[in-house]
């Protein structure tokens, strides 16, 4: 059957998103998108021995923007940063049982925000 609307999993994550919020003094922070386009995501990570021990997000955007943010935090939590950085937009969409075609790009920025947060963590680590 053709894809009509959002999957059940997307709606679950939209209605009850996991890991919402802010981490004070994060080890890594990533922000992508802009309000003009209608999607802004930010991800905060806490890292110990290169393992992501805590992760939080805040998102301005549509249903899939919120659901993908929630899902990417679930996928990254507890992972080694070198593993987490390999999480792709496609992985996020697959874990959510797919996204409508027009949502694959603009509203699937969560993996990018995660990558930015990991990059920020690595930069900070190098400077130490």
């Amino acid at each position: 059957m053709a894809n009509v609307g959002y999957s059940k999993k997307v709606m679950e994550h939209f209605m009850n998103p996991h890991n919402v919020g802010v981490i004070e003094h994060p080890d890594g922070y990533g922000k992508v998108g802009n309000p003009v386009c209608g999607d802004v995501m930010e991800i905060f990570i806490k890292v110990k021995d290169d393992i992501i021990t805590d992760i939080k997000f805040r998102t301005f955007g549509c249903g899939s923007a919120i659901a993908t943010s929630s899902m990417v935090t679930e996928l990254a939590k507890g992972k080694h940063v070198d593993e987490a950085v390999k999480i792709t937009r496609g992985d996020v969409a697959n874990e959510l049982d797919g996204l409508p075609a027009q949502k694959m790009h603009c509203s699937n920025l969560a993996a990018d925000a995660l990558h930015e947060a990991i990059k920020d963590y690595k930069n900070k680590k190098q400077m130490k």
Binding site: M11, M15, K31, P35, F60
Partner: protein
């Protein structure tokens, strides 16, 4: 969970009286109105009777001014392309307001690609067209100006009589898309000086798949759809008799009940507006008073409209939004941008269109759900946190 449907501008249920009236034309009187035998004539008679009801509904000169189409998009295409191309020898300039429906704007843009000059008529922050500007952009080459009767996204009602006066001083034709206004406010094409007018069946609680273009006697247009020459040669294709018959009956009922229904909805709409504007950083879009009696539209800062729509649906409440994410083009509503909103402001819109199923009891339920929705989405949003800090 009870359903509260507040998206009547998108679709309406067919009135059960309309359905009963038109039903025989699916299975009993299923003739082709173009056939000369008795079965065909029976269908033809029903279509002609419907035409008469619609002429009366908009106070047209006679029933031959009514051209049936397969919907309002088709009627708008026929009005814009049909009038411009038929009158090309008189001039190659056209005007459209910035808040027209895409089924007016896109044919206008196609004319522009084919050598017409298109001038956009701006609106103010409430959505009312700029009459002085209209006067200044009309030229002797302007063959057609298109201004909608009322806007579907912000509910604003345009001063059609004034617009008509200005347009006719220069000599071109005025097309009015009355899809949103039809059945909500009385329309009088003769008194208001309208040359071409679009109506939609479904927006009158009629069957989808039917629309009308009114063409004033003496106004010449050409067809867009070529074929067997039905509808005075202006809209070829075998008639959808069931839908056309239903549309006529829907118009007859609307004419009878509109006044009463609109005065029933008006205080409910006002209560919706009053309650929802209690929410911090919420704003009414469109005109505060010159607006359709069933229409309440808002925007909320820091959140996005598709999320609002999905969240409201979880409460059993169906609404609409002009957000980019909810559109096929991924562009925010051109209407909200035309009234001067920034992109990020236009994303957070919510439109309520009331109907026969709406009652005063819905107001507290919907207001509470809206408030909870806005608060929840703001808690998720990085932008509202910055605003609070």
């Amino acid at each position: 969970m009870p359903r509260i449907y507040l998206d009547h501008a998108s679709s309406m249920p067919v009135d059960s009286r309309v359905f009963e009236f038109a039903k025989p034309y699916l299975r009993e009187s299923w003739g082709n109105p173009s056939s000369l035998h008795s079965v065909g004539l029976e269908a033809k008679r029903a279509v002609e009777e419907s035409r008469g009801k619609i002429a009366e509904f908009i106070h047209a000169e006679n029933e031959s001014t009514i051209i049936f189409t397969g919907g309002a998009t088709e009627a708008n295409n026929l009005a814009v392309k049909g009038a411009a191309l038929r009158n090309i020898t008189k001039g190659k300039a056209v005007i459209a307001s910035t808040i027209e429906h895409m089924s007016v704007l896109n044919p206008m843009k196609e004319l522009q690609k084919n050598g017409f000059s298109l001038t956009m008529l701006p609106v103010d922050s409430t959505g009312i067209v700029d009459l002085k500007k209209l006067d200044s952009i009309l030229t002797k080459d302007t063959v057609l100006s298109s201004v909608m009767y009322a806007n579907n996204e912000i509910g604003t009602i345009e001063p059609i009589k004034d617009i008509s006066k200005i347009v006719h001083e220069k000599g071109g034709f005025l097309h009015v898309d009355a899809v949103a206004a039809g059945g909500r406010v009385p329309i009088d094409v003769q008194n208001e000086g309208i040359d071409l007018l679009t109506l939609s069946s479904n927006d009158l609680y009629g069957p989808p798949g039917a629309g009308v273009l009114y063409v004033k006697p003496g106004v010449k247009i050409q067809s867009v759809l070529l074929g067997g020459g039905q509808e005075r040669g202006l809209r070829s294709g075998t008639e959808n008799v069931f839908a056309l018959v239903g549309m006529g009956e829907a118009a007859r009922i609307a004419q009878q009940e509109m006044k009463q229904e609109s005065s029933r909805l008006l205080p409910i709409r006002d209560k919706f507006i009053k309650e929802i504007l209690q929410i911090d950083q919420s704003y009414l879009t469109g005109h505060p008073t010159l607006r359709l009696p069933h229409h309440a539209s808002f925007r909320f800062s820091f959140i996005e409209g598709e999320s609002i729509l999905l969240n409201m649906d979880m409460y059993g409440i169906q609404v609409s939004t002009g957000s980019a994410c909810s559109s096929k083009t991924l562009e925010p509503s051109h209407v909200l941008l035309a009234i001067g909103l920034k992109h990020e402001e236009a994303h957070g819109s919510m439109v309520l269109t009331l109907g026969r199923s709406t009652s005063m009891e819905d107001v507290p339920v919907v207001s509470k759900a809206t408030n909870e929705t806005v608060q929840r989405l703001r808690r998720l949003s990085p932008m509202s946190q910055e605003w609070r800090n």
